[in-house]
Symmetry: D3
Subunit: 151 residues, 6 copies
């Protein structure tokens, strides 16, 4: 049976930290679906969903086992619908850990087949967050070292 | 002198984690007031205050020493007005701890008689948070295992 | 029914932080037993148990509801034997929290009647630890501001 | 060469915790610029920027080496423009630490000359945060013990 | 290529928390080697290595893809010698996280092929630690709910 | 007045993380004394003090403002004796932070003139600890990437 993992997030934007986790996850999983969660009702994203889908596809264009999708439902439902038994997640620090600890238990309650698998973000990328990138970008700072594609 | 405790929160919604703390607090305190803080100006709650008051009353209908109130003032003031010398609080993880550490010092400065008393949330409920429940409910997921009443 | 609490520890030595928790616990509990755990086999204490018993008794000599005992068994057993349904514990920081989180669950498994109740150490005393006092004392430093009795 | 430090923040409002860090920083740096970051687009401050500039100036009116500025650009850019090689920051707890850990790495990437220097907030002030002060002030509570000036 | 993982530890003793991680790891890996690290020089274990090997084998006797070995070398070397590209590790709390964060980076430096993969321990087992079990056992307490075999 | 800082530790051994902090501290302080604390009574070091003094001197042989000393007294006393008003310390993670938070308060109580100044260890070195190096070295692993000198 194929090992399919979802790598869910809002990816506003997708960062080099995200790329690091997905690439390292490739040895663990046969397929990885990068899944951009969005809420059609609220449109407060900084980078539009469609734009980000393009950029992530571009990032992994040489990796046939990585695909990109958007979803607007519970992650646990999206995983079931895609026959994915794993959520791949990165951990950067203790704040991430406490958040993921809660989320992963709830996901397992909603879908007992669903296992959350964690990799620790490489030190070179652990300081990068989507919110910091948005802040730097808003003030015209150079974010090119923090994202794996050109804006 | 009666030992009266306030169990304050926004309870949007009240969870099984909250219920766990209140029930365990019953052996410590003679009366516990579940106190829903709300801000009449801002109305960004997901579950209306009145609805939640009903649900919490229903949850504890067999516990005469537990009452439910709403308040729109400083917790330290509300406690004084109700002759309560204790704030009962649950701790789920280190993020909660750092937040409660600050809040409890400030409450003691505002009302030196007021003691914050902490219980650690039982493991079965530690992953539950009001914000996760709102998220699951928004997407029509099943939240019945996370709340002590029917929606 | 009397509310009896155990305040367990190795107290090598008892600090002003410990005193802070016990005194604040007095409003919650009818009796508090300060319980020095020791291991007859191992004798690697810095301050002898008997000496510390004397100093803690001296500290609380005007508080008839506080007593001092030594014990060499599981805390959960000692509590049961003393009809104590509560463990009183202080929390100084997140390191304490993670440790107490584990210990309190295990104590509840060993003795389901036993509730661990936490107060957060007052800021003025939160930096004090028994190990720091031993270190300062070993080098003839002044520890008088960190303990509630004279050495 | 003069050692110039920026003490950046939104300071909504400036607290006794902030004052503590700046005064202790005086022995490390020749000049300290208290720099209020604001976003002209968004105006969701509780205390207006101009008001806060006045209050901070008043607080340090006897300290010629402390000045106050506003800025609406990246902190790393503002520092460069002011020939400041240091960011002075206070740490209150682990939540602060995780946040500052990320921010300081990103600032060093944007401006490799820029060193972030940390002092740990004195215990008496560690519970104070701007958001708690706003909350207390909104409900007409007394915040005078948490700020170094009169409102 | 087979996905082989090492689950390393001192396992003094092996707990239900350890069992939880290994069983959940079975869906990720083709083979898991439970590897008891010991130091021939120091013999301060509470439970002898040979005894623990027997107990872990007994625990997994119906799981042909789980084997048990002892090792007395660097984990990174042991993994290489066993053609294992993964270290499987459980995370219980932030203290574990900070420790594993450091160890996993060092292991990757020693053996760049080696990926550390983390699962978060199920809440029911997160309070269990080998050191707590030793403490309870030393005082003749009942540890049967914390280990997956009979002592 | 010269700004003199102590960089205290047991340095068993001195690591690239330590070197990182000292070199970055050079822009803040006029003189830095790397101070190896040792306890003449206990001799459980892995690397002898004299050996480590040599290696640290060698590391900084081109930095005239960095000196190396050993001490066997309270850090606060050693600082006073050397007219140093600063302790320079590195922070790698939240575990370090909680420890340093306590120690720095106690040092200020012992010597109110003494200010602890913190830099966050660069990500490339944050995983390195003296205890990990000892472990790797004990098993003949390659530690050369973790120390700034040859063993």
């Amino acid at each position: 049976m194929k090992r399919i993992a979802i790598f869910p997030g809002s990816f506003d934007p997708f960062t080099k930290g995200h790329e690091d986790i997905v690439l390292r996850g490739l040895t663990l999983f046969d397929d990885i679906i990068v899944a951009i969660g969005y809420n059609s009702g609220k449109s407060q994203r900084y980078f539009p969903v469609e734009f980000m889908v393009e950029k992530i596809k571009e990032t992994f264009k040489n990796q046939p086992s990585i695909s990109v999708q958007t979803f607007s439902e519970l992650t646990a439902e999206f995983a079931k619908r895609n026959k994915a038994r794993y959520l791949l997640r990165g951990l950067r620090n203790t704040t991430d850990f406490e958040y993921e600890n809660s989320i992963s238990q709830v996901n397992r309650n909603l879908n007992p087949e669903l296992e959350s698998v964690f990799l620790i973000t490489s030190p070179a990328f652990a300081a990068i967050s989507s919110s910091i990138i948005r802040e730097v970008h808003r003030y015209k700072g150079d974010v090119s070292s923090m994202i794996p594609y050109k804006l």
